[in-house]
């Protein structure tokens, strides 16, 4: 088991290190610069989508969906970060507590 743990940890670290070791000259090419700028936006948006609507079987509409919509409203009303997070958590927790959503 130690073999698995240590090799996987080393592999994950190398992936992180690799990204920060790409030559600057390559990153400054105009097209590369724009792609790199957009990469975290694509990945983080995808992550948010999967965290909101994905489950083991596929896609699901459950307590996370209204919680996410409430978070969008809070963001549009320029609520602070903590408020956005708390209203989303409260919405999902309340819907589950009262058995209104999974």
């Amino acid at each position: 088991m130690w073999f698995t743990v240590l090799v996987a940890a080393a592999g994950c670290f190398l992936l992180k290190y690799l990204g920060s070791s790409i030559p600057k000259s390559f990153l400054e090419m105009p097209v590369v610069k724009k792609i790199v700028l957009l990469l975290p936006i694509a990945l983080l948006s995808a992550l948010v989508a999967v965290q909101t609507a994905g489950n083991h079987q596929g896609l699901a509409v459950d307590a996370r969906t209204p919680a996410f919509l409430v978070a969008i409203v809070a963001l549009r009303l320029k609520a602070s970060f903590i408020v956005v997070v708390l209203v989303a958590a409260t919405t999902a927790a309340a819907l589950r507590h009262f058995g209104l959503a999974a």
């Binding site: 592999g11 670290f13 990204g19 724009k34 990945l43 983080l44 995808a46 989508a49 927790a93 589950r96």
Partner: protein, 233 residues
């Protein structure tokens, strides 16, 4: 930015970093408990949080072992989930500007939360000072709390209640979204965010975990390429 403004911004960023650490830590307890019930020793579970330090990969490794997968399958699952961190460190490198030991530490702390917090700050503030503080404070806060939480979970072999009952899954998604929001400053960024989400959702029912999010990166390539054809930045 005046000194007063910086002090206010600094405490705002630090507060956010601390709250992200606390939210993520509850999942750390779940991770520790899962490790302990999967047959990993306390030391092995802790080694994952200390040395791998990327939650999705850690859960992928432990779940693969729990479902009877072999060593290679577990390593592959962890690395697949960890691939997005390479894209994050690529983006963060010109902001962090680190070398040597600091580069090793910065790489280690490069995860969803630290990257999102770094990029949510205005890069123009003092030549990236706010972005760097967002990244480092969140990375360190999550690292410390994630590791303490892992230990608590593996030693007691129980999670603190169900994270879902507290709405934590929704809270973490909302928190990340709140950090992506300020990054959507152009129609190219908006197209990328929307396209990335759609690609991931379309692939989720038909692809194994990890692939849908990674596949969303193709949207950044397509939009970035057409953006450079337009010529304006």
């Amino acid at each position: 930015m005046t000194h007063q403004e910086w002090i206010a911004l600094r405490s705002d960023i630090s507060r956010k970093a601390a709250s992200i650490g606390v939210a993520v830590a509850i999942y750390g307890v779940s991770f520790g408990a899962l490790g302990a019930t999967t047959g990993l020793t306390i030391a092995q579970t802790q080694a994952l949080s200390l040395l791998m330090f990327t939650g999705a990969s850690q859960f992928a490794l432990v779940s693969t072992i729990a479902s009877g997968g072999g060593s290679l399958a577990a390593i592959a699952a962890a690395m697949l989930l960890g691939t997005r961190n390479a894209a994050y460190s690529l983006r963060m490198a010109p902001i962090l500007k680190v070398n040597g030991a600091r580069k090793i530490l910065a790489s280690h702390l490069t995860i969803d939360e630290s990257t999102a917090m770094g990029l949510a700050q205005d890069e123009a503030v003092d030549n990236g000072r706010a972005s760097r503080l967002g990244f480092w404070s969140t990375g360190l806060s999550v690292f410390v709390l994630w590791n303490l939480a892992t230990l608590l979970g593996s030693v007691t072999a129980s999670a603190i209640g169900d994270p879902k009952a507290l709405g934590l899954d929704a809270a973490i998604a909302a928190g990340l979204f709140a950090l992506v929001w300020p990054q959507i400053k152009s129609r190219y960024a908006a197209a990328t965010a929307l396209g990335g989400a759609l690609v991931a959702l379309t692939l989720t029912p038909v692809m194994p975990a990890g692939i849908p999010v990674l596949a969303a990166s193709t949207v950044a390539f397509i939009v970035g390429w057409s953006w450079s054809k337009q010529g304006d930045l």
